[in-house]
């Protein structure tokens, strides 16, 4: 591995993220041949701290002037890659045109903004009018997709002009994307002269690329290879707790999983420690709740623990209305380790006399099934890509959350929504400006959710970055897509 790297000019690095940096073909998270994540070409107004708090970025400060109005002060002296200075006009343009108009309704609900609600106050001040009180607004827009570009940029046509430390140099669709150092970066020019992001969505291929010395840094090597990599001198392994967690969410409106006893039984059937210690190669933390503990209002410690207790589980099963039929468990085909995990569930549930029918499906089929509510369990990951994780609670567990709303409106049910008190607690948490009040409400909601066994938490994710041992200065973040490459260097 070393040989090939030594020859390279210093300051150029090749990085392999988990997703194709040139975009997945999906309009939503890639434009003009580039996915906005990872590459640090474009930037949002707000960033996130390692503690998942909003952090000034292109905006230096923000205040809520009333329940629904936010005023943001912009950083002065920020230059776009085309040499122009960033002003409020660019911010208004980006929000009004690119974000609120182009991307469609989905964004309105997410940001709680409607088109026409972003106004320039002066060259360096912008105001936002949210549709309802939304304390999480700054954290929510701390997201790679909510970036600022000047009107001259034509993001559909690979004309991407950002403010980031790197400028887009070259795209080879489906293969790689090259960026170069932006000397006039407002935060000071970055160390690397050039970065190449390569596409390799298969974990084993990524690992092979690193081991063969073709790349310098990879995200998420294959789980099976991690212990091997740890033993190597030429590879450096870093792990970072992520904002994501993996859990099984249960359709509580469908027989027989509408029976809380059965759901609790399923929870008692699983040993999170065992999973982490074996198939996960100790990457990740056994979970008690649905939210990663990097989120400050995640409840973990305060939640009832379902230690594995098969006798109890079997008792609960026999108490419940379950009578031996197969219950289905869906998992998406490209979830790392998904096939393995779901088979463990199957085996463990088998031991408490619950028959699990596993279905590994591709995204659209899976969504089709969940949209219709035609499933019992779904194994999945929930991860926040912005510091504001509120939406995980809202979208998953609130009756009007995206998961539940359609079915609730159609036939008064939903999927994972307990309704009533939980809805209220989530609303309180969502709208509270007071951190303590917010935490209290969310913890209470999580406790109710866990009591009723709406989810089977498995583990809080950690993610692994493996790099050439000579590499230094990579700054990992709970949100893996917030990684910064500005200080990346090679020790020789």
């Amino acid at each position: 591995a070393e040989t090939s790297l030594d020859d390279e000019a210093d300051g150029t690095f090749t990085i392999v993220p988990t997703a194709d940096p040139t975009g997945t073909g999906d309009d939503w998270d890639s434009w003009g041949g580039m996915a906005p994540y990872w590459t640090r070409v474009i930037e949002p107004l707000v960033w996130g701290t390692d503690g998942m708090q909003p952090q000034p970025w292109l905006a230096t400060d923000w205040t809520a002037t009333d329940d629904t109005t936010w005023v943001f002060d912009l950083r002065e002296g920020v230059t776009f890659h085309n040499g122009e200075e960033m002003t409020a006009d660019d911010v208004v343009h980006s929000f009004e045109e690119d974000i609120l108009t182009d991307r469609g309704d989905f964004v309105h609900g997410w940001l709680h903004l409607e088109p026409g609600s972003v106004d320039r106050i002066d060259d360096y001040t912008v105001s936002f009018e949210t549709t309802e009180p939304f304390p999480g607004f700054p954290g929510t827009i701390a997201h790679n997709m909510i970036d600022i570009q000047p009107p001259e940029a034509d993001r559909r046509d690979a004309e991407i002009i950002g403010t980031g430390p790197f400028t887009l140099a070259e795209i080879e669709q489906g293969q790689q994307l090259r960026v170069e150092r932006f000397e006039d970066y407002w935060g000071g020019a970055p160390e690397p002269t050039e970065l190449t992001f390569r596409a390799a969505e298969d974990a084993t291929t990524r690992t092979d690329l690193l081991v063969a010395g073709e790349v310098d840094l990879i995200h998420e090597p294959a789980t099976s290879r991690i212990s091997g990599l740890r033993e190597r001198d030429d590879v450096r392994i870093e792990t970072q707790q992520s904002s994501g967690s993996v859990f099984v969410s249960i359709n509580i409106h469908r027989e027989p999983t509408d029976d809380a006893d059965l759901r609790r039984a399923l929870n008692y059937a699983i040993s999170q420690e065992e999973i982490v210690n074996t198939v996960l190669e100790n990457i990740g933390q056994p979970a008690r709740g649905p939210l990663s503990t990097v989120i400050d209002w995640a409840a973990d410690e305060e939640l009832p623990a379902y230690e594995r207790d098969r006798d109890r589980a079997r008792d609960l099963v026999s108490q419940s209305s379950y009578d031996g039929e197969e219950i289905s468990c869906l998992v998406e085909n490209d979830m790392d380790d998904g096939r393995t995990l779901v088979q463990i569930l199957q085996e463990e549930f088998g031991k408490i006399n619950v028959n699990l029918d596993v279905e590994v499906l591709e995204g659209p089929s899976l969504r089709d099934r969940t949209d219709r509510g035609e499933f019992h369990l779904e194994l999945g990951t929930s991860q926040s890509n912005s510091p504001a994780a509120d939406y995980i609670m809202w979208e998953n567990f609130h009756t009007m959350g995206i998961s539940n709303k359609d079915l609730y409106e159609a036939d008064g049910t939903g999927l994972h929504n307990l309704g009533g008190e939980v809805d209220e607690l989530i609303e309180t948490g969502f709208q509270s400006h007071d951190p303590d009040e917010k935490r209290e409400a969310y913890v209470a909601a999580q406790r109710e959710i866990m009591d009723a066994g709406v989810v089977i938490p498995l583990f809080y994710r950690e993610y692994v970055v493996a790099a050439d041992a000579e590499l230094e200065g990579f700054d990992l973040h709970p949100i893996d897509k917030f990684a910064q490459w500005g200080e990346l260097t090679r020790t020789t």
């Binding site: 290879r225 065992e274 393995t340 085996e347």
Partner: protein, 302 residues
């Protein structure tokens, strides 16, 4: 119908006698590759029949404490990432993988032979129409169409079988039609026509037996292709749902462990390879034995 059965029984009897007395069997056995093919296929078939009875473990039972164990006395082929015994999974999988191959080949064979016979025998516009149908099927690269069909229907073994069966029948139709056309013009069929032999009898007594040889050869070779096709679709992610011990799926899953636990992928890989090899060798051997060219050589006037 009973007449047909009777004549088939008679034909089998005579065939057997012919086989025993003639040199064809000796021809077959003379090539060690043929014998190897027959042995492999026999072994796999036996595994498929009695595999589940002799397998040391349940194919789905996990043993996380003993995961990723290399080959040992307790686990001759090692264990996988969930501690399941690979030998047992292979043995259970034999029935499944072979079953798929047999079913798919069977559907292809019946469909293709019927269409081919019909086209070749009826001729005229029926032939024209059926052959265009065949052309249409052949116009799609097999796995691509199978992939699309299986993909749209969703991943499951049943859909894989369906998709593979839909794409492979045309070669049978072509082969059968070709043989029927060639046979139909041979003097013995013309003679039969002049002897007032019924169409049905001509088809069953003169055409079918001459078609059977090449079709059996093709079917044998096809078994291998189907197994490979299933493996390919499994790799793409359209194969069996876990924890089904289907070979292709095992191989596809195991590839992540190729460097750390080579046996997980390589054991099913080698098993698939040997099975395909076995069927191909057997098919080649049968071809040597049943080769229509063999007869034409005999027919060549000196």
């Amino acid at each position: 119908m009973s007449v047909v059965l009777e004549s088939i029984a008679g034909a089998i009897g005579r065939r057997y006698r012919a086989l025993r007395t003639s040199r064809t069997l000796a021809t077959f056995c003379a090539n060690p590759l043929n014998v190897a093919g027959l042995s492999i296929v026999t072994a796999i078939t036996i595994a498929a029949i009695i595999g589940p009875l002799v397998a040391p473990y349940d194919p789905a039972t996990q043993d996380l404490a003993n995961r990723l164990q290399g080959p040992s006395l307790a686990h001759p082929f090692g264990t996988d990432q969930l501690g399941r015994d690979i030998l047992s999974r292979i043995l259970y999988g034999a029935r499944l993988s072979l079953g798929i191959a047999v079913a798919v080949t069977g559907i292809r064979l019946v469909l293709g032979t019927t269409i081919g016979l019909l086209a070749g025998y009826a001729g005229g516009w029926v032939d024209e129409a059926l052959m265009r149908l065949v052309d249409i099927q052949l116009a799609f690269p097999g796995l691509v169409l199978a992939l699309v069909i299986a993909g749209i229907l969703g991943p499951s073994l049943r859909n894989v079988m369906l998709a593979l069966a839909v794409v492979g029948w045309a070669s049978y139709a072509r082969l059968v039609r070709g043989t029927v056309l060639a046979t139909k013009e041979r003097d013995f069929v013309r003679a039969a026509r002049l002897m007032n032999v019924s169409r049905f009898r001509i088809a069953t007594r003169h055409l079918l037996p001459n078609v059977a040889g090449p079709v059996v050869v093709l079917a044998t070779l096809n078994m291998g292709t189907v197994i490979l096709g299933t493996a390919g679709l499994s790799f793409i992610g359209l194969g069996a749902q876990p924890p089904t011990p289907e070979w292709g799926t095992m191989l596809a899953d195991g590839r992540h462990h190729l460097r750390t636990a080579w046996w997980i992928a390589n054991v099913p890989g080698v098993v698939i390879m040997c099975t395909v090899l076995g069927f191909t060798l057997l098919g080649d051997g049968l071809r040597d034995m049943l080769d229509p060219n063999h007869e034409t050589t005999l027919e060549k006037p000196t």
